[in-house]
């Protein structure tokens, strides 16, 4: 491992998407996405509410099936593999959900131990040691016997990260890591992501709309709008981009109101709302 320098590590592709399309019923949410995630990098997927970024993340972890296109991960195309094969891949990846999604009926320790108990034949004392180690890594040492309801929002999210890391995944996914947290706790979670990357050279994919957090943790960024990729590149490339949608997003300019009276009248009287109408958009979760 030490023989390979950082540059080569950065170049190896671990996930690659080709013309990925995802539908909810009749409606197409993602309109043919192409990009790659490289080993050891932190890729931030940026986008506003309803941009399709959460759908993209759900598709990457196999919770939604693509309607067409390919997702290549570890030599397998996630669009066509069986449930059993998908489960094998899932054991090598971790996901931290927006609200944490730690099981309320189990203690923090049992939550972290769950994937180990389900998928490994490790002895109970070994599992306990791993649980303590993982909780220590996220700054929750000593909280094994707490119930999730006794934890604050930030601590729940840390517990979720510890659970996601229990199986030593190659790729870690984060859905809105700082959503619903105060700025100080959110900064703590960003700090945690940076630490994980530094300590374990983990590949991390983060979905967020928090600009400050994105620019802090990202190696590369992808900006998604209305199910299409608007821009992709390093932090510097994004900052210096002249693309109007990128500028609008980064400079936080509100969506312009309907300008023409005739357009407004048409919007009110139209029977069939277009897919891009705000009412028809799926709210970003």
């Amino acid at each position: 491992m030490n023989q390979i320098d950082d540059f080569t590590l950065q170049q190896e592709t671990i996930i690659s998407l080709r013309d990925l399309r995802v539908n909810y019923g009749e409606r197409e949410i993602l309109h043919g996405l192409n990009f790659e995630v490289r080993r050891g990098e932190t890729l931030v997927i940026l986008g506003g509410s309803g941009s399709g970024k959460s759908t993209l993340l759900r598709t990457l972890v196999g919770l939604e099936r693509p309607s067409s296109g390919e997702i290549w991960l570890k030599g397998k195309n996630l669009a066509v593999i069986s449930d059993a094969e998908m489960n094998e891949i899932r054991k090598r990846m971790g996901m931290s959900f927006q609200g944490g999604a730690v099981f309320g009926s189990m203690t923090v320790g049992e939550n972290v131990a769950l994937p180990l108990r389900e998928h490994t034949k490790l002895e109970e004392p070994t599992i306990e040691i791993i649980v303590r180690l993982k909780l220590d890594q996220v700054g929750l040492a000593g909280f094994e016997d707490y119930m999730p309801s006794q934890l604050s929002g930030g601590m729940k999210k840390r517990a979720a990260v510890a659970r996601a890391m229990a199986m030593d995944p190659e790729i870690l996914f984060f859905d809105e890591p700082s959503a619903g947290l105060d700025p100080i706790i959110a900064a703590g979670v960003d700090e945690l992501i940076l630490d994980l990357k530094k300590a374990f050279h983990m590949t991390i994919v983060v979905v967020t709309h928090e600009l400050a957090s994105a620019f802090l943790i990202a190696d590369r960024m992808v900006l998604i709008d209305k199910g299409n990729i608007v821009a992709m590149g390093s932090k510097e490339q994004m900052r210096s981009s002249t693309n109007p949608r990128v500028r609008q997003f980064l400079d936080r300019i509100a969506e312009p109101e309907v300008l023409q009276e005739a357009d407004y009248l048409q919007m009110l009287t139209e029977d069939h709302r277009g897919a891009n109408h705000p009412v028809n958009k799926k709210g970003g979760v």
Binding site: L63, R90, M93, F97, A101, G104, P115, E118
Partner: protein
């Protein structure tokens, strides 16, 4: 024409729903009876705690309700029987209607109210808080993890509760028999047991197992298909109760008719 299309649509929806229930029940049965022989140990600990919740904790309220039902049955049948001077047949009437019909049915309805709704609420909340998604991303099958222990607990506890309910019903009848029909307590019990055939008890127990499967499948299916938002959990819970009661009565009708025609020969 439109009405026919609507009826057709509802029938298709109903069949699709039953299909979903059957597939969920089948999966749970697979994880309960087949998977343990293929190296996937049964979740006994969770099943025991579910059995406590579903079965043991239901005993006080179930006892009270079925005792009253037994008493009501005795009063209602005595009203008719005394016209013929046959009031001593109250024991037979209560024993047979409890074991064949009301024991299993009342037990099922109490369990729907206590546990069917709880299954839907618990799993529905887990759906809303993304805990079901979290299970899937950890490569843990939600049916295996959540439904199987409930399924096992239900098919064991429902017949047990039914036997208990039958006994409490007969005791309720005995209260009337002893105070109003001139029975000694031991003679009332003797008369009840004499009136019963093993067949009466067994048919009731067979029904109760099928009720257990139905209640688990509906409660868990409603929970798993909960949409986004807290109000959806409430809706799932209500649907779980209403649909379970309907299906339990439908299953009851089918099995009662079946036993009727079998015993005719």
């Amino acid at each position: 024409m439109e009405i026919a299309a609507q009826i057709g649509g509802s029938v298709a929806d109903g069949l699709a729903y039953l299909g979903a229930l059957a597939s969920l029940g089948g999966r749970a049965a697979y994880f309960t009876f087949v998977a343990p022989f293929r190296g996937k140990p049964l979740r006994l600990q969770q099943a025991v705690s579910q059995a406590m919740q579903v079965g043991v904790r239901a005993l006080p309220i179930l006892s009270l309700i079925t005792f009253f039902i037994g008493l009501i049955l005795a009063l209602q049948s005595a009203y008719e029987l005394r016209k013929f001077g046959a009031i001593t047949f109250v024991a037979n009437a209560v024993a047979i209607s409890m074991t064949r019909e009301l024991g299993p049915l009342i037990t099922a309805i109490v369990v729907i109210g206590r546990s069917g709704s709880a299954f839907a609420a618990e799993i529905g909340t887990m759906r809303v808080t993304e805990e079901i998604d979290a299970l899937e991303t950890m490569a843990i099958h939600p049916v295996d993890f959540l439904v199987t222990p409930k399924f096992l607990a239900m098919i064991i506890m429902l017949p047990c509760l039914t036997i208990w309910a039958n006994s409490m019903g007969i005791l309720g009848g005995a209260l009337f028999g002893v105070t109003q029909a001139g029975f000694f307590f031991s003679r009332y019990i003797r008369a009840s047991l004499d009136a019963l055939f093993l067949r009466d008890i067994v048919t009731g127990l067979i029904k109760s197992v099928v009720f257990g499967i139905t209640i688990t499948a509906v409660g868990c299916h409603e929970g798993l298909s909960t949409g986004a938002g807290a109000e959806e959990v409430g809706r799932s819970t209500t649907r779980a109760v209403v649909v379970s009661i309907f299906l339990v009565i439908l299953v009851d009708l089918v099995f009662t008719a079946l036993f009727f025609f079998i015993s005719e020969r």
